[in-house]
């Protein structure tokens, strides 16, 4: 479903992605782990061309993301993206955040868009917050609205960029729960996270990234059980803190 072929990217002289290759199959959850600065966020941002890449290819199905021939906005509608900082639109209510895309992109009439948005809010347990603005929501609630906003577009793929890193510890669980339910429903997902528990429980595949490359990959049992890469061993040993 998503194929990375020798993806390379530089920020100035910094080689953030130094030849990433890998594949995410339909319906599978891939968790990307790694120290900060290892390129994991950049990698999933590149999937929706929020970051352009300089070398290699990223294919979604058989569509090359970097191709100038494709309509990038059309492609982005097929891919949900959840940000670390939520990035809700603060001038709109929870409902308005969700209906904006439906009305402007799906051309769904107002009343129907509203109905659909409330369904999505109910799915993340926030139907009663439809008319609340983001500033009045907790971090966990904001992130769940952000997930609902992405899901409302009926994406084939969901990308999560450290979705719980900006949350208070006691709010992490409610977001992970939504993500687990989503994984169970068969959504194709790439999740950049530090939540090892989530990786163990939900991931089909774990990628450990280091210095712009996938240093180790495999089923979570394998990667966590018998790590080979020395950086990964050290990374896992530190995991007690999380």
């Amino acid at each position: 479903m998503i194929r990375f072929e020798n993806v390379e990217k530089w920020f100035g002289s910094l080689h953030v992605l130094a030849g990433v290759s890998g594949e995410v199959k339909r319906g599978e959850v891939t968790v990307v782990l790694g120290p900060s600065g290892s390129g994991k966020s950049t990698l999933i941002r590149a999937v929706t061309r929020l970051e352009p890449i300089q070398r290699g290819r990223i294919l979604i199905g058989d569509v090359d993301v970097a191709s100038r021939e494709i309509n990038i906005n059309r492609l982005r509608q097929r891919i949900g993206f959840v940000f670390q900082a939520f990035n809700l639109f603060p001038h709109l209510t929870a409902l308005g955040n969700i209906t904006l895309g439906l009305e402007r992109l799906r051309r769904i009439p107002k009343a129907q868009a509203k109905e659909r948005a409330i369904q999505e809010l109910a799915r993340v347990g926030l139907a009663d917050k439809a008319n609340t603005v983001p500033a009045k929501l907790s971090g966990g609630q904001r992130q769940r609205v952000a997930i609902a906003r992405a899901l409302a577009m009926d994406p084939e793929i969901m990308l999560f960029d450290e979705p719980t890193s900006a949350l208070d510890p006691e709010k992490v669980g409610e977001v992970l729960q939504v993500m687990k339910a989503l994984a169970k429903s068969g959504m194709t997902m790439i999740v950049v996270t530090h939540e090892m528990g989530f990786a163990r429980e939900v991931a089909n595949t774990v990628w450990f990234m280091d210095e712009g490359k996938i240093a180790e990959s495999g089923a979570p049992g394998l990667v966590f059980g018998t790590p080979e890469n020395p950086r990964l061993k050290r990374f896992l040993a530190r995991d007690g803190d999380h």
Binding site: N73, R74, R76, A85
Partner: protein
């Protein structure tokens, strides 16, 4: 001073209306409001053009803003006063001249305010819109501008204050506004310039100070309402 106010308050307020054209404070406010309002769409267009990735939009818009900001308002007033009648082939009154001038002049200043408002938004806002698949226009008009303009309301009120003061230059082309009214009063009384222009100063000051205070209040309110929500910086790891 009180005596002058008692005798001439109506002239200060509305000029010779209803026996002649409306003027005075009413016309000052009218010209400032209309000038700034009409300049608004141009200001938005200039701001967007200056932030455009396309050089052919960015360069001319940047040039316009720099040229206008680099020249005194009175010069524009003379230009419009003498050039516009040649172009349209009929004489143009003082009020029209001043309003046209203000539209040109304020569009540049206002565009800088709007541009700052757009640049001040967290990067994550545009990214979130892009990630949804929204194109340039819905992103700009549904996500970016509503927030940028809201955040910049206090600066726009301040710009309105500047515009009010700038309308006093309309005096030189006989636009019938507050300063013009004061000059008329002064001409009638002949011997009381200090009081008359003192009164004029007080009127401008009361108006502008009230508006400036309102802007400050607005600023505090916007800061507090957004403090809870928006300022979480988007920092991709």
């Amino acid at each position: 001073m009180v005596q002058i106010l008692q005798d001439y308050w109506l002239l200060f307020l509305v000029g010779q209306y209803p026996h002649g054209p409306i003027g005075g404070l009413a016309m000052t406010l009218f010209m400032a409001a209309v000038g700034l309002s009409l300049s608004f769409p141009f200001a938005v267009a200039l701001a967007l053009a200056r932030l455009s990735p396309y050089r052919w939009l960015r360069l001319p818009a940047t040039a316009i803003v720099h040229v206008v900001r680099g020249l005194p308002l009175i010069m524009f007033i003379f230009w419009v006063y003498f050039v516009v009648p040649l172009v349209i082939g009929r004489p143009v009154g003082g009020v029209e001249t001043l309003v046209i001038t203000l539209v040109v002049y304020e569009a540049s200043y206002l565009s800088e305010i709007i541009r700052a408002g757009i640049l001040g938004l967290p990067k994550g806002q545009v990214e979130a819109a892009k990630a949804l698949g929204l194109g340039y226009f819905p992103t700009t008009f549904r996500v970016v501008l509503p927030q940028a303009l809201h955040n910049m309301l206090p600066s726009m009120v301040s710009q309105f204050v500047s515009t009010i003061k700038e309308t006093s230059l309309g005096y030189v082309i006989s636009a019938n506004e507050l300063t013009f009214a004061a000059a008329q009063v002064n001409n009638q009384l002949m011997t009381r310039p200090f009081e008359v222009y003192g009164l004029l100063a007080l009127t401008y000051f009361a108006l502008c100070f009230a508006l400036t205070s309102a802007a400050r209040l607005l600023e505090r309110r916007i800061a507090s309402e957004r403090g809870g929500g928006l300022s979480l910086a988007a920092a991709p790891a």
